[in-house]
């Protein structure tokens, strides 16, 4: 099989996942898109591993091993990610990424910027406490 097939499919899937990460509003949809990207990478790894192990350049099967690891890590990551999304949902009542704008610059006049900063920091500290 021509190597281009899996490689191109992997690239296309990756960019699809990329679009999803950047364009979707709901946090869970973003996580889904991240899974897409991870799977694209996995496909790439497997394809290259099969090619290289056949040409006897590779005896470690590192591609497949890494693919397994990636799958496991992706699973762990989705668990944590969902826990975070749930905590955010509990605190904010929404899972929209658009609404999480705490790092935004406040539109205060000069001189109260530091007040905004301290308010942000204390606010973040409270939220960090709440989610811990």
């Amino acid at each position: 099989m021509h190597l281009a097939y899996p490689a191109v499919l992997s690239a296309l899937l990756f960019c699809t996942g990329l679009y999803g990460v950047l364009a979707r509003r709901n946090a869970i949809l973003v996580l889904m898109s991240v899974e897409l990207m991870l799977n694209a990478v996995n496909l790439n790894l497997v394809a290259f591993d099969v090619w290289l192990s056949r040409t006897a350049e590779e005896t470690l099967h590192s591609g497949q091993a890494l693919t397994l690891f990636t799958i496991a890590i992706a699973a762990a990551e989705i668990g944590i990610g969902l826990a975070i999304v749930l905590a955010v949902h509990r605190n904010r009542g929404t899972a929209d990424i658009d609404k999480l704008r705490d790092t935004a610059e406040r539109h205060d006049p000069d001189g109260t910027d530091h007040d905004a900063l301290t308010a942000e920091q204390s606010g973040e500290a409270q939220k960090a406490e709440a989610t811990a």
């Binding site: 960019c15 509003r25 099967h61 699973a75 949902h89 811990a132």
Partner: protein, 239 residues
């Protein structure tokens, strides 16, 4: 990207090559055809996943995508990985995602604001990235073929032998990582009020895991299940 454009891109590669091949591009093997067709399905399902307005449908189309990828793995003779893909991804990750959708009260049916205002910029970036990647990849691997004859490259026996001989240390590290993720997920998913009460009392680091659970048990009774499944290990959810 439409299917026509995808096909056009794929066929653009061979028509630009002038040299004679031993593999004969103009007569692809059966594996290649199967791969192409399943790839189209997978890609289409992925596109739907990232564009549909119905959130639960997106999760289900993700199942299709992941399943398609499992078939691709089989076609590439990476059997073990294919089944692991089905087990983990389709089996538990998607279930987790569905759980997440339910617990965050995602709207069933069309939600009008599934896409953020960023989508045109995202589209531009994704298309540009896709074009760049595909071009570079095709240009680089024009004369590369995978030899699929012979024993499976990814049989369970071969994978297991390789994993437990050469990859033991990362394997063990991975299990530690999974443990950490498990603990983290549990900690993160506690209720806000109980966590705030614990945090104001003493330094959380000094307390052990059991004390925290006992304290939460003695606090208000809960009816909501906050437990999260983790790789098949069930955590007691009722407090």
């Amino acid at each position: 990207m439409t299917l026509a454009a995808t096909a056009g891109l794929l066929t653009a590669g061979p028509t630009t090559r002038a040299a004679a091949e031993t593999h004969g591009f103009l007569s692809p093997t059966g594996v290649e055809i199967a791969f192409l067709l399943v790839g189209l399905v997978t890609f289409g399902a992925a596109l739907v996943t990232v564009t549909t307005r119905q959130l639960v449908h997106a999760a289900l189309w993700l199942v299709v995508t992941l399943g398609g990828l499992a078939v691709e793995y089989l076609l590439l003779t990476a059997e073990f990985i294919a089944w692991v893909q089905v087990l983990i991804y389709v089996g538990s990750v998607v279930v987790l995602l569905l759980f997440g959708l339910m617990l965050t009260r995602a709207p069933i049916g069309r939600s009008p604001d599934a896409d953020s205002g960023n989508r045109w910029g995202a589209l531009t970036v994704a298309v540009a990235a896709a074009a760049a990647l595909v071009w570079v990849v095709v240009d680089a691997f024009r004369t590369t073929w995978i030899d699929l004859d012979g024993p499976a490259a990814g049989s369970t026996e071969a994978t297991g032998a390789s994993l437990f001989q050469n990859w033991v240390l990362p394997f063990e590290a991975l299990s530690v990582l999974l443990l950490a993720a498990l603990v983290g997920a549990i900690v993160l998913s506690r209720k806000a009020k109980a966590a705030a009460a614990i945090a104001t009392e003493s330094t959380p680091a000094a307390r052990s895991e059991e004390d925290r659970i006992e304290k939460d048990r003695s606090d208000k009774g809960r009816s909501e299940k906050d437990g999260i499944e983790k790789d098949g290990i069930e955590k007691e959810g009722t407090r």
